[in-house]
Symmetry: C2
Subunit: 307 residues, 2 copies
């Protein structure tokens, strides 16, 4: 498990599972909290293969209800129950998923052993889906054939690090540490002496952000919503020569994904959701790099870690 | 592809997929006609791994609507469409599957590119589900927590083989071959001479039968419905020491499966649907063999061929 900010890409294919690629699923680990993003068929096996302690998943984000983004969820929920889960699970998705899951439970005369909270994402609602001690998660309205949302994970500002030897030497009381870590000065009320947090602490670790954008047609305005993002995963289903097909199916080309990364001033672009028609991935990578240098192909099982 | 009678076991686990076992799915190949039996999550990948030309599947039989027996079907249907299938597909299952599939198509705003015919299995109806040139398929009423059916595949009597040199020598006309192959004598109407089919043909190849019985509690009467079956697959979820658990969950023990095989005078028992609690499969096999000698463990990917 990671103390940092770690993305595991479980599936990088589109449409159908193949022997080489699962369809979409990813796990984001933020300080040992696991967030599952999309859950195609085969996700639970991919979680096992990648040795992810999947009972620790607390939140599941489903971008849209095409089969290659959610068909593994029912089986995963069932496995959670069989393994004795009692911890609640939050599922965020466009309208319809609850009805699908409920129908399965009803027809199979089974039920979940743990509470499942469904959160319906709607573009008319507040885009803030989740806020906890560590991060905020926002919905991004994408443009696909059915209602589809991306997800922006933004870590909150972290605590500064106490300068241990110095606070000891100056006899700063322990109860003052929290405010110092937050960036507030400490005032000794007995003598009104002010101790600057900048002196008594080291700077906090950086806070990272991750945007997941799949599936979507080219959507120039998207870059505004993900400005300065550290990691951008943007679908690159097609190459530029198949731009017409991308338009028709509401997917993006490599060049378009790279344009979004460039306009957003993202630090890094992760590619994925490749059409199985392309055997030479390097050509796809070259297309992205021609617009945005820090582009990377992803493969099933890849881990991207910031710390 | 096989000209014979060939069973490929795609999944031998129960409940949840693991790195070692998929849940239930099998393909029966009878003279190049493919019948899919159950379709757990991961079946389409297992079909690819086993190099089965899965677009040739014409009929799908789903025993019951617990997730470990059907959750791979939606993805498989979607892949059929994506690969351009136009050939119709027949799906046989207890009530509810059509509603589940329809809901997915509705919510994902997608549809099948090929005709799907749903056949609802009901124990009040005729047990004959399908009859074609090669075989008949019957439903077997099992005893599980929800409506569940096994399937009995019975090859029809095959054609006898023409004795080529002899029919040539005796100048038997070509149009008489079909009746001879069926076991009818040929009469030369010009001189009323009778040619015995037994003389002009060699005996037909044997006709085989296969019974799939999963999931089910011990059901002694089942043996009557599958008398003399060539291959019996009967779930062996539990060992005898866990008989109480088998009863509680409406599953069978190894001993119980073997008793069914023995009473039915089956030629061979295939074991499967193992609970993941047992690491030593040999002990399970020993239990079966103590009652029915010709018992066999199955593993994912096993092929059982009669010809």
């Amino acid at each position: 498990m990671s103390q940092g900010f770690e993305l595991t890409v479980l599936g990088t294919g589109s449409a159908s599972p193949t022997l080489r690629r699962n369809p979409s699923a990813q796990v984001l680990n933020v300080r040992n909290h696991l967030y599952l993003i999309d859950c195609a068929e085969g996700t639970q096996i991919a979680l096992r293969k990648n040795k992810i302690k999947f009972q620790q998943i607390e939140h599941v984000f489903i971008s849209h209800l095409h089969g290659d983004h959610y068909l593994g969820l029912q089986g995963l929920l069932s496995t959670f129950s069989l393994l004795g889960r009692s911890k609640e699970l939050h599922i965020y998705s466009p309208r319809g998923l609850k009805e699908i899951i409920d129908m399965h439970f009803s027809i199979s005369q089974s039920q979940s052993n743990f509470p499942i909270h469904f959160h319906e994402i709607d573009k008319m609602n507040d885009s803030l889906l989740l806020e906890n001690d560590h991060l905020k998660v926002f919905a991004l309205t994408l443009k696909h054939r059915i209602p589809t949302f991306g997800f922006l994970f933004k870590e909150k500002k972290k605590a500064r690090h106490i300068n241990g030897p110095l606070v000891k030497e100056l006899k700063i009381p322990y109860y003052a540490f929290e405010q110092l870590k937050k960036g507030e000065d400490y005032i000794n009320k007995e003598n009104d002496e002010v101790y600057s947090f900048e002196k008594l602490t080291f700077p906090e670790d950086p806070s990272y952000s991750y945007a997941y954008c799949s599936d979507t047609a080219y959507l120039p305005g998207l870059s505004e919503q993900i400005k300065e993002v550290d990691i951008l995963y943007h679908e690159t289903t097609f190459m530029q020569k198949d731009e017409a097909l991308a338009k028709k199916t509401f997917h993006s080309t490599c060049i378009e994904a790279a344009l979004i990364a460039k306009k957003a001033n993202a630090k890094m672009l992760l590619m994925g959701h490749y059409s199985s028609r392309y055997l030479n991935e390097e050509s796809m990578l070259e297309e992205c790099k021609s617009v945005f240098e820090n582009s990377h192909l992803t493969q099933d099982g890849d881990i991207i870690k910031l710390s």
